[in-house]
């Protein structure tokens, strides 16, 4: 087989890659340099005008980005803590271990949009069961229409939905850990807390970093929960970057501008995740 034949075999894969990855990104970049909207459809060329508008005249995007950072970091942190705890719980031999493992995975298997509709009903402030309960104590918390509580509700729904994913990854990591370090710790007389701090946690660090980064990538795209639960409100208090891009692109039909938002967002995300991964490695693996 000569050199050219090798490329012939690679060609189908390369074409698929080109069609589903390179072309959309290239087209989005081109779109971001146009003024395509509901009134002027077409790929005209306006240079960096959309990017200039974004950096000089669109504080709402940056506010949404700040909110996104808060929501995604908080949700992933909580998911990690809870997911790790649950994984530790069913790691060892306990009664109904298999049942618990399946139960903990159920939220992840449900459809996010449908579950968010259910949550919206549960937290409905005048008709929902949660406030029915709180009204027994003379309280009616504004789960969806208070600036602070609405963020909490979004976080809660996200944590409920995606903690099982973290649980699954961490449980798989725990099950693959070698037995020897635990034997050594046991011989040295280490209790469960010391064993966790000095053996389990360090051994799980690479898996933890992977799980956290995967979840951060997903959490940074949070859209359906916000869309269904609060529409970004009250005011703009739960509006995230992806929801804002959705509004500009598919509600207001500013395709060119929303493409510029998407490209900027993508670049920021790539840089952010690279930095976060380095920090996590430093903290969790090297212990610096």
């Amino acid at each position: 087989m000569n050199f050219k034949h090798k490329y012939m075999f690679l060609l189908p894969g390369l074409l698929v890659l080109l069609a589903i990855l390179i072309f959309p990104i290239g087209f989005t970049v081109r779109l971001s340099l146009s003024s395509w909207d509901s009134f002027y459809p077409g790929l005209d060329f306006i240079g960096l005008e959309n990017y200039v508008r974004l950096f000089t005249d669109d504080s709402r995007f940056w506010e949404a980005f700040g909110r996104l950072s808060l929501l995604s970091l908080t949700t992933v942190f909580l998911q990690y803590i809870i997911g790790f705890s649950l994984a530790l719980l069913v790691w060892k031999e306990i009664r109904f271990q298999r049942l618990f493992r399946v139960l903990f995975l159920i939220p992840m298997m449900t459809t996010p949009v449908i579950m968010t509709v259910v949550w919206r009903t549960v937290f409905h402030e005048s008709l929902g069961p949660v406030n029915d309960f709180f009204s027994l104590f003379g309280m009616q918390p504004l789960w969806l229409s208070s600036e602070i509580l609405s963020k909490f509700t979004v976080i809660l729904v996200e944590v409920w939905q995606w903690t099982p994913f973290m649980f699954l990854l961490l449980l798989a990591g725990l099950l693959s850990l070698p037995k020897e370090p635990y034997l050594a710790a046991s011989i040295d007389g280490a209790g469960p807390i010391r064993t966790f701090v000095y053996v389990t946690f360090p051994l799980m660090a690479p898996i933890s970093i992977g799980a956290i980064i995967i979840r951060l990538i997903e959490a940074s795209k949070i859209m359906d929960t916000v869309y269904v639960l609060t529409s970004g409100g009250p005011g703009t208090s739960t509006e995230t970057s992806s929801f804002y891009i959705f509004i500009k692109g598919l509600r207001e039909f500013q395709f060119g501008y929303s493409a510029a938002l998407s490209i900027t967002y993508l670049i920021i995300m790539i840089i952010s995740f690279t930095v976060i991964a380095k920090i996590l490695v430093k903290l969790m693996v090297r212990g610096e």
């Binding site: 909207d37 005048s126 703009t236 208090s237």
Partner: protein, 511 residues
């Protein structure tokens, strides 16, 4: 628009009621029209049964079930049975109707023969739509449509969208409370004011506050003052405009409600709009818990379920309240939107201390045929069949269908008494309120129908949502909206926006 004489209206009604066939072979086959049977006309069941569209396929993009989606699917099934056509109905959430049609339109594709949407999409969609052929425009069925709704579906005198629904915002209230002598006395004793149908937004607020948070209908549940669409991006801008018209639509000032037509300067941050938003922020105190997150569905369920004293927006909440399964059937009333005891005059730059009221003919459901569709005849026949007399009479009786009155004959109270079991007094009040808004007022406001309408409305939603959430004061919020509107006008081009806006202003100023 001239006032239609009661005589001609009665004559139309008499003809319609007289012509109403009772159970016939068509109602046996299609129980949906069991109350009226088929009604003769160009697109009646009988007429459609003579068409043969076998082997042809019609694709329709419509709203999700039930509002408009359910009647679309039902009439598609009937149309298919009558003509042999294969009709595919695709259901889309309201927020995506615009883009789902617009994306293929712009890309030169025609996945849908018929697109359902809102009448204010018209300016952006019109170049992709086939104007309604003269044979439909001139048919008897269309002559029954009110002039206001002919205007809403037309652009520059040419009808482009097919009238299938009529919409306006009006006040809904609990008659069993407002007309209750005991509550009238209690209200008078405690506030010194008369308990009556609110004439102004100030009265609306006072009454809503008084009846907020206690069990005034003795059903064991707390009731509240008002249910309103306040959820961001969920049609809230339309609710805001309903509250704004009384303060900002001055009948003595021509040349634009949203913009000054001459300069294209936004008027949205003027004192009239600010006064309305200030009222609206206050309203957050007398809506049910979580009312600030109420979308249209919540508003319908809240008022329709007997939770609030007042509501205002589309017909749906009223129709839901008047359905047989409603706990408050025949306990509700309809009235024009409240007015104000002052109105802003932007020319003199001062408030005029005089009573003002303005009906808001808000946009509603409509449907149109894609210009590039290969099935124009079949598509127009479907729409004509959708809105034929028998289907229309049956559709407006079902609240969840979202089909509301838009024909002169719809304003006959007898229809609601006979077909839907409404109290005659309520039916009379409902019909008079709607007809008065359509044909009696000379101070109408039409919805904004300009290029990029979604950008303008989205800016209003964001600004007003910030004010409701307390993030900004009403003036700050509307100043922010005005700045955004100026940017949109600049991007699209002042002349382009002006040209489109002038058509709506001409309708308002010709009153």
């Amino acid at each position: 628009m001239k006032i239609t004489s009661s005589v001609s209206l009665l004559a139309i009604g008499a003809v319609l009621l007289a012509g109403t066939a009772q159970a016939d072979k068509w109602s046996d086959q299609f129980p949906h029209i069991k109350n009226s049977g088929d009604i003769p006309g160009q697109c009646s069941y009988e007429a459609m049964s003579k068409k043969d569209y076998s082997g042809q396929k019609l694709t329709i993009n419509t709203h999700a079930v039930p509002v408009m989606g359910e009647p679309t699917a039902l009439h598609a099934e009937q149309f298919s049975a009558l003509t042999g056509a294969e009709v595919k109905v695709i259901h889309t959430p309201a927020g995506d109707l615009y883009s789902k049609a617009m994306i293929p339109f712009q890309a030169g594709q025609t996945p849908y023969d018929i697109v359902f949407g809102f009448s204010n999409f018209l300016r952006d969609w019109k170049q992709y739509l086939q104007p309604i052929p003269a044979k439909y425009v001139n048919m008897k069925q269309m002559q029954d449509v009110t002039q206001g709704h002919i205007d809403v579906n037309s652009w520059g005198g040419e009808m482009i969208q097919f009238p299938i629904d009529g919409d306006r915002h009006y006040l809904k209230y609990r008659r069993d409370v407002i007309d209750n002598p005991e509550y009238q006395a209690k209200y008078k004793a405690e506030t010194g004011n008369e308990l009556r149908i609110p004439q102004t937004w100030k009265e609306y607020a006072e009454m809503a506050e008084f009846f907020n948070g206690w069990d005034w209908d003795n059903d064991g549940e707390l009731e509240y003052g008002s249910a309103e669409v306040m959820k961001k991006d969920d049609l809230m801008y339309a609710a805001f405009f309903s509250r704004s018209v009384a303060y900002s639509k001055n009948p003595r000032v021509k040349g634009g409600f949203f913009f000054d037509l001459e300069t294209m300067e936004p008027l949205i941050n003027g004192p009239g709009f600010v006064a309305a938003l200030t009222d609206w922020v206050e309203a957050t105190k007398y809506v049910p818990p979580g009312g600030m997150n109420f979308g249209l569905g919540d508003e319908i369920n809240s008022f329709g379920g007997g939770q609030t004293l007042f509501s205002y927006s589309w017909d749906d909440a009223f129709v839901a309240a008047m359905q047989d399964d409603s706990p408050i059937k025949n306990k509700v009333g309809a009235a024009p939107l409240p007015g104000s005891d002052r109105v802003w005059n932007r020319l003199s730059g001062a408030w005029e201390d005089t009573y003002n009221q303005a009906p808001y003919i808000v946009w509603g459901w409509t449907a149109a045929v894609a210009k590039e569709s290969k099935n124009h005849d079949m598509a127009f026949d479907y729409l004509c069949f959708f809105a034929n007399d028998a289907n229309h009479q049956a559709d407006i009786a079902i609240g969840r269908f979202g089909v509301n009155p838009f024909r002169k004959s719809d304003f006959l109270p007898e229809i609601y008494v006979k077909n839907q079991g409404w109290d005659p007094e309520i039916a009379q009040q409902y019909s008079e309120t709607l007809l008065e808004m359509e044909e009696g007022s000379t101070n109408l406001v039409f919805p904004l129908r300009v290029p990029g309408v979604f950008q303008f409305n989205s800016a209003v939603a964001t600004g007003t949502a910030k004010a409701l959430a307390g993030q900004l004061s009403p003036q700050e919020a509307l100043d922010e909206v005005a700045v955004e509107w100026k940017k949109i006008v600049k991007r699209i081009g002042a002349d382009t926006v002006r040209e489109a806006y002038a058509i709506g202003v001409a309708l308002e100023d010709s009153e």
